[in-house]
Chain length 234, copies 2
């Protein structure tokens, strides 16, 4: 039996992540959750306070608690779904699957993901194109143990990122942002000069402790940047 605290939290997170509760949706009052889980208000309060501190929900006295509008961390998230972003901006978007294979991971990848070396992962490389201009090159590892249905997915309609996001909402993510110079191959793929600065975003995501996917996305430095809004923790 997990701790109640964690269960309440998981439930709320799942509802938000799955989109069942979209931004602006009113979350049950503390006394309602109290009744639902049969616990004291302090327990509910601590969960909601923490979620609020993490920016997932917004609380206001008397008015109640609602799912937060995507504002701060969302910038990092948004960029991951090209299809959605392009649709919102009214831009023609397409993607090209450049590579697809199932391979055991090497020692370095095992270290990064916390999985045993040799674990089989689906490896996919995708080029994202908008208005005929390459916008990003994506190399992705997908954990077949967590997402077995990926094995038979063709990624014909949706790129891996979009496809995954709909199936496996993440609960935990680690990001690394680097600046690197494009080598010849990358330059060709992205239609930039060899040696041009690129922004590389690495993201590893977990769901309830289980590793889901690792994405390494390379953006041409002259066409992209990341934007984020942060507030100090209360």
């Amino acid at each position: 039996m997990k701790h109640l605290h964690q269960r309440i939290r998981d439930d709320i997170e799942a509802k938000i992540m799955s989109g069942e509760w979209s931004p602006g949706h009113r979350i049950p009052f503390e006394h309602e959750l109290m009744a639902e889980y049969g616990c004291s208000r302090m327990t509910v309060n601590k969960v909601l306070s923490t979620l609020a501190a993490n920016g997932l929900i917004t609380r206001r006295r008397r008015a109640g608690t609602v799912v937060a509008e995507p504002s701060n961390q969302q910038a990092v998230l948004q960029i991951q779904d090209f299809a959605l972003e392009a649709a919102r901006a009214g831009i023609e978007y397409r993607f090209k699957l450049l590579h697809r294979s199932v391979e055991p991971i090497d020692a370095a990848a095992a270290q990064r993901t916390g999985l045993p070396a040799g674990t089989k992962m689906l490896c996919v490389s995708t080029l994202h194109v908008m208005d005929d201009v390459p916008q990003a090159f994506e190399q992705r590892l997908i954990n077949l143990a967590t997402v077995p249905e990926a094995d038979t997915e063709s990624f014909k309609d949706d790129p891996p990122g979009t496809w995954l996001l709909r199936r496996v909402p993440w609960t935990d993510a680690e990001h690394i942002v680097r600046a690197v110079s494009a080598d010849g191959t990358m330059a060709k793929r992205l239609h930039i000069e060899t040696g041009a600065a690129c922004l590389v975003l690495e993201r590893r995501t977990w769901q309830a402790g289980a590793f889901v996917t690792e994405a390494r996305i390379t953006y041409p430095g002259d066409r992209h940047h990341l934007v984020g809004r942060f507030s100090p923790v209360a």
Copy 2:
């Protein structure tokens, strides 16, 4: 009278930030803090739990609570203070003031900050050096209307970022991360090749709606990256 919670927190943070409690230092037990502040254990516990969730301290049952070892997990937030980071990591740090002037801002800067064009700002350029290797070049605008005492500050002891952080804690910040190629001047300053990829972090901060400062920090791409951990979960 501020809330007790906040007071305890401020006290502990101050001791850690000032270096009085260095990494590994054992923090008073909950029952000791209880006695010191004359409050219940829950109050102390919530403060310490929050600090632990923020990575400032490490807690272990029976063993107690200690100041956390500096990790790179919070680079996005901590990178703002070189002096503090260097002190925590035990690295020799110094900085060089390369430029200092008071100038009216141009139209572009006015747009970014939301201030009227022509507003007078203090412009400072700083080079951050650790162990004799340049680590970052910082260009900063400081709003003299919000921080008038900056006008007479020499920045002899502390670099502008550290100095500001102690005087004007920000409540709201906007970050932009880019990858750019170093031009000749920048390459010389950072001891890298011309054209090498650099990570550029732009941060604009506000305090209660009033613009405080804009920093544009350029890191050599081969020596730095940003790491962030985002989770709905703490």
